[in-house]
Every structure is written in C-alpha cells, then in structure tokens.
C-alpha cells in the first residue's frame, strides 16, 4: 500500500493529510501550531504513523503554508508550494467546476477565483487581520464561549445586531456596547459574523466576480454562523467540503503525487519525529542590512539557512539544503 503525505504549517494550525494512490483521504490531523512549528510537525508525524497500517509506504511528501520551507526541510519534501495553489487544487478536486473559493484561516483570508478549472484571480488580506479566525477566537474567549459553540449559537439569532466590521478594534467596542445595551449573545454573534463577511467581501473580495459554485474552507468554515452569513450576503448556497480544515494539506498531497510521478521520494521517514531539530537565528553583521538569518539544526548540524538577502549564509550550504 502506498500513500502521499501533505503537510500544511499555518500560523495557527498545523495540518496533515495522508491520501491513498487514488487521492482519497486515509487520515487527517489538525493540530494547533502554538508557535512551535517544528515540534508540531514532529508530533503530527507521530500521530500519523500511529494511525496508519504498518505496511503503508509514503511515496511522496508536499508541504505548504507559511511554514512550508521549515516543514519541507524537516521531512525532505518533494514539493514545497504556496497555499493559494494548494487550496485551489484541493477544492477543484473535491468539487469539480468550483468557480469561487473563500478561505479564512487563522491569520489570513483569501479569495480564489477559478474559471474553467484554472485559477484566474486571487487576493489575500493585506494589512488587516480583522475577519480572520484569530479574531473570532479572541471574541469567543472574551464572551466565555467555546469556539465550537460559536456557530450553533449564532444560528439561534432572531435579530442580528449590526456591528462595525471595518476594524477588529472597532468591532470589539461595538460588541461591548451592544452587549451592555442588553442584546442577546446569539444576536451579537450573528451580527459579528455578518460584519466579518461584509469586511471580507469589501476587502479581500473587492471587485471580484463571485460565481457559483462557491466553496468555503479553512478553519473558520467550521463556524456555521459564518457559512450562514456568507449565504445571506451572496444570496446563494455556499458549500463547505467535509475536510474543509485540511484542504491546504490535501492539495499539497495531491501535488506530491504529481511531483513524484516516475521519481522516488525525498521523504526522510517518520523517524524524523524523534530526531533533534533546533531552529536558531543570528543577526548577520556583514553589512548594514543586518539580516536576521535563521538556521535549522539537526543534531547539532546545520541543515538549512535562510533569511539573508545576499545569500552569504544560505549559499554556504550544499545545494540540497538550500531554500528559496
């Protein structure tokens, strides 16, 4: 039995997917990154190994997400791909003919427009994190509501309250104001969802032609209130795929299958979960740029470096360990 591994190391969550040779998901893992991407990749690998039948052999690895280079070095990935491409690939495989992908993750949100099965336009949030998962997380915590209960509660709303969605700071003070006026929590939550959707469509989706079918994915897609708010704003159904939270990893696994076509994998095995990796950094004093160079060490040996503009440090390593 053979399989492909996809790893998505995001700012908030680290996801892993193992697909069979036919691209179906055998197992998926969703972990919180907690600011420790290396440990989480290792932990994920351990969970993955434990959940899989012993005779399964990984013949391709792909990494994506903002920590893709890090994860790629640790696992020996065959392909390291940006998250826009992987999300698009996963969505168009799960739902052929998809024309719009709404993706909201922990720290970023994006919209991907596909036409004829090909990405024709995309946008990511620029300077503002209002309308991403971490803001919802924080507000849920402030209201002492578990993030899992957020969606169902929002659906109970009878009169959604209007909340300013332009900026997370204003949204918060608006929410406090409405709560002190005596509005119900479900109404406030539904209002917050609508504000975030409004902000998303005005900001990220500005001027984009949102055509059906629409897929909504990323961690925030778990929130039924957000799905309902999107459907209300767009006026047509929004589809949340069953593996909405690991779509990036799924896309990476699919790309790994393509990348290892008639080639053997660079995967270093599940054993890397037990190896000793350390990330360190130093400020290079070679010029006034003072680049922050990052070093990844395995058992005391440098296996990768990046962050230097001139290549003085990253080029000093062997060709194979070089990144970006």
């Amino acid at each position: 039995m053979y399989g492909y591994l996809g790893i998505d190391v995001g700012s908030v969550s680290t996801n892993m997917v193992l697909t069979g040779e036919d691209g179906t998901i055998k197992h998926s893992i969703y972990l919180r990154t907690q600011g420790k991407p290396i440990e989480m990749v290792q932990q994920g690998l351990k969970h993955m190994q434990a959940a899989l039948p012993g005779k399964l052999k990984v013949i391709g690895v792909g990494t994506t997400g903002s920590g893709r280079h890090l994860a790629g070095v640790i696992t020996g990935a065959d392909i390291i791909k940006n998250e826009i491409t992987t999300h698009a690939i996963a969505a168009s495989n799960v739902m052929p003919g998809v024309q719009t992908i709404l993706e909201i993750g922990g720290q970023d949100s994006k919209i991907i427009i596909l036409r004829n099965g090909v990405v024709s336009d995309f946008a990511m949030n620029t300077v503002c994190a209002a309308g991403t998962g971490s803001f919802l997380d924080q507000q849920a915590a402030r209201l002492n509501i578990k993030i899992e209960e957020f969606g169902p509660l929002a659906l109970q709303a009878t009169v959604p309250v209007r909340i300013a969605g332009r900026c997370a700071v204003f949204a918060e003070s608006d929410m406090i104001h409405k709560q002190q006026m005596g509005y119900n929590i479900p109404d406030i939550l539904a209002g917050l969802c609508e504000a975030l959707v409004r902000n998303y469509l005005n900001n990220v989706g500005k001027g984009k032609e949102i055509l059906q079918p629409v897929v909504f994915q990323g961690g925030v897609a778990a929130n039924a209130g957000m799905k309902a708010a999107f459907e209300k704003a767009l006026g047509h159904p929004v589809h949340v795929p069953s593996h909405y939270d690991v779509m990036g990893a799924l896309g990476a696994a699919m790309l790994a299958r393509e990348a290892t076509n008639r080639k053997s994998t660079g995967f270093r095995g599940f054993e890397v979960a037990d190896r000793d990796f350390k990330a360190g950094g130093f400020a290079c004093d070679g010029c006034p740029n003072v680049c922050e160079v990052v070093e990844i060490m395995e058992s005391g040996q440098v296996i990768a470096r990046w962050g230097d503009r001139c290549g003085r440090w990253s080029n000093a390593l062997t060709q194979q360990a070089r990144i970006s």
Partner: protein, 332 residues
C-alpha cells in the same frame, strides 16, 4: 580643490542620474551617489521623517543622510513638473523642504526647480542655475547641458532596448538580466515606480525573484514616451500625474501585447496616486483583458513570506492559465 556633489540613490535618480552625472562631469565637478539601500539607511530615514510620508520619501531621506558628511553639496532639484500641464507628486515638490527641516548638519542643498508646467518653460533653466554655481562661462554650461541631454537620450534608448535603469546607471551591476541562466518561459510586466521596483531592498529583490522563477521581466520604463502617452489616452480624462501616466499607459500597453503573460502592479502603501492608478488598471483588466493581474503593496516590512507567497501563486496561475489557453487553441 575639486568639489563633490552628492546624489541620493532614490526617487528620480533612476530616470535622470545619467543626465545629472554627465552635466556635472562636464563642469569638472565630481558626483557621489549614496550607497544602495540597506536596513540602516531605511531606519535612519524613518526616524527622521514624519510618519505619514510614504516609504520612498523615507528611503530618500535616509539616502540624503548617507551622503551628508561625505560631500560638499547635495543635488536635490525641486521637481515640480516635467511635462506641460502635468505635475509630479507633491511630496517630490516638497522634498527639499522635508530634508531641510528634518536633518541637521546638512551640506548646502542645490534645490533649483524643474518646472515645465507652463508653455515655453525649459529644462535649461535648471541646469543654467545649477551650472552658475560652478562656472561663470555660459558657453561651458550650455555645452554641459547639451551633453547631458544626449546622455539622457542614450539612457532612454538603452531602456527601450530592454535594459533596466540600474543596469544602465551602473555598468558593474551584479545581477544583470542577461547574465541570469535558466529557461524563461513566461513574460511578466512589472508596473511600478522605478524607485520602488529597482531598489533591491525596498522591492525585496522582486525582479530577481521573478527571473529565478523563470520569468522575463519588462517594465514601464522600457516604453518610449509616445507609446505610454498614446495608451494612457484610453482613459476618459488625462491624468495630471506624469509618473502615473506612465504606469497606466504601460499597463494598458502590456495588456494588449500577446507575449506578455501577466502583469504585476507594485504600489507603495500610503501613495495617493498609486492607489488610484492601481484601481484604474484593475478595472481596465477586468473589463478589457483576460490577463492575470496582481496588485502588490510594499511598505517597511522585512518579512518576505507575504511577497514570496503572492509571487509564487501568481507565477503558478500564469503558467496554468497559459497551458489552458494552449489546449483551447489546439482544440478549436
């Protein structure tokens, strides 16, 4: 005793440096260009500039500071207008004042004006008033001026033949376009102000990155003036910003070129004209063209991840779409 004039490697340096250098050389004056932008230069600039100024202005202030104790004069022409009935950004216009009010221990500034807004005004006025400082011989100034115009023409011709400004400004550049190896299968037009896209630090090496991803890069500065002006006439009303006229015209031109596969518009955060031309270009793209367009905004951040992700995704998209067009073309 020979005199040294400092020229900051910022703002209009990328358009006019060859002309300025030639002019001063003919008057027997040495010129010194500030060093390439580094974090140190940027940080100095940020500290000494008001917060609301745009990034290019902050960088330019940093470059002036880099020159301060190494030169006798700093050449900072007050660029009001370089074409009839058009203006340059007001921050350029006020730049000598920004510098004077924020930096201490300045060498004397040469902030003579360039103002071609009105009929009959000439660039010669600038050079005559500058030249007067160094010689009393008007014939010598005239000769230097003529030589400098020839140098400017050469510079423009060089760019029109496909070279980029920093390649023509400095002959010993380390990353010349024609020196890179590897297959280049796509052509990307990068539309942005020269002081943003050619500054390696500010642009986070964007042009080099694109080439590494296998792209041929073309820019707005490689178009002759009459071409981008003709294209910009597609707008219902003439823009009065000269620099942005070039951006819009070039974008329109490249949208129509079959060999260009995608367009990247680079704006600096907080730039008024850029935010408007970005929107104009985007609307045009949506209405008239099927070419992929990416809007990139740059600012002080040093994290490269955001830019790398967008550039990579854009390149994927361009290749993917082209493949599809190719398939469609063979079927129908």
């Amino acid at each position: 005793m020979s005199v040294t004039v400092g020229i900051p490697r910022a703002l209009l340096y990328y358009y006019y440096y060859p002309q300025w250098k030639t002019f001063f050389a003919h008057l027997g004056v040495k010129t010194l260009v500030s060093r390439e932008t580094t974090r140190g230069i940027l940080e100095k600039g940020i500290k000494s500039t008001v917060d609301e100024a745009c990034l290019p202005i902050k960088v330019a202030v940093g470059h002036v500071m880099d020159l301060c104790d190494r030169v006798d004069y700093i050449f900072l022409p007050r660029v009001v207008s370089t074409a009839r009935r058009e203006y340059i950004c007001p921050k350029f216009l006020g730049f000598p004042d920004i510098v004077r009010n924020n930096i201490e221990h300045l060498p004397p500034l040469m902030d003579n004006s360039i103002d071609l807004y009105r009929k009959g005004s000439s660039l010669y006025n600038l050079f005559y008033s500058v030249g007067k400082e160094f010689t009393h011989n008007p014939v010598r100034i005239m000769r230097a001026y003529q030589a400098s115009m020839a140098a400017l023409n050469n510079h423009c011709r060089d760019m029109e033949s496909g070279r980029l400004p920093f390649e023509t400004c400095d002959s010993n550049r380390h990353n010349r376009q024609d020196q890179d190896v590897g297959v280049r299968d796509v052509t990307i037009a990068v539309i942005g102000h020269p002081y943003n896209i050619y500054d390696h630090y500010i642009s986070m090496n964007m042009l080099k990155r694109l080439r590494d991803y296998g792209a041929n890069v073309v820019t707005a500065d490689q178009l002759p003036e009459h071409v981008f002006r003709r294209e910009a006439e597609k707008l219902p009303k003439q823009l009065f910003w000269t620099l942005n006229q070039r951006m819009v015209g070039a974008a329109f031109y490249y949208f129509d070129r079959p060999e260009v596969d995608g367009i990247i518009h680079v704006a600096s955060f907080g730039c008024g004209p850029d935010s408007m031309t970005g929107e104009l270009i985007e609307r045009f793209a949506r209405r008239e063209s099927r070419k992929p367009l990416l809007n990139l905004t740059i600012d002080e951040h040093t994290g490269e991840a955001g830019m790398v992700t967008r550039l990579e995704a854009f390149m994927d998209m361009v290749r993917w779409r082209r493949q599809l067009d190719y398939v469609a073309a063979t079927y129908y």
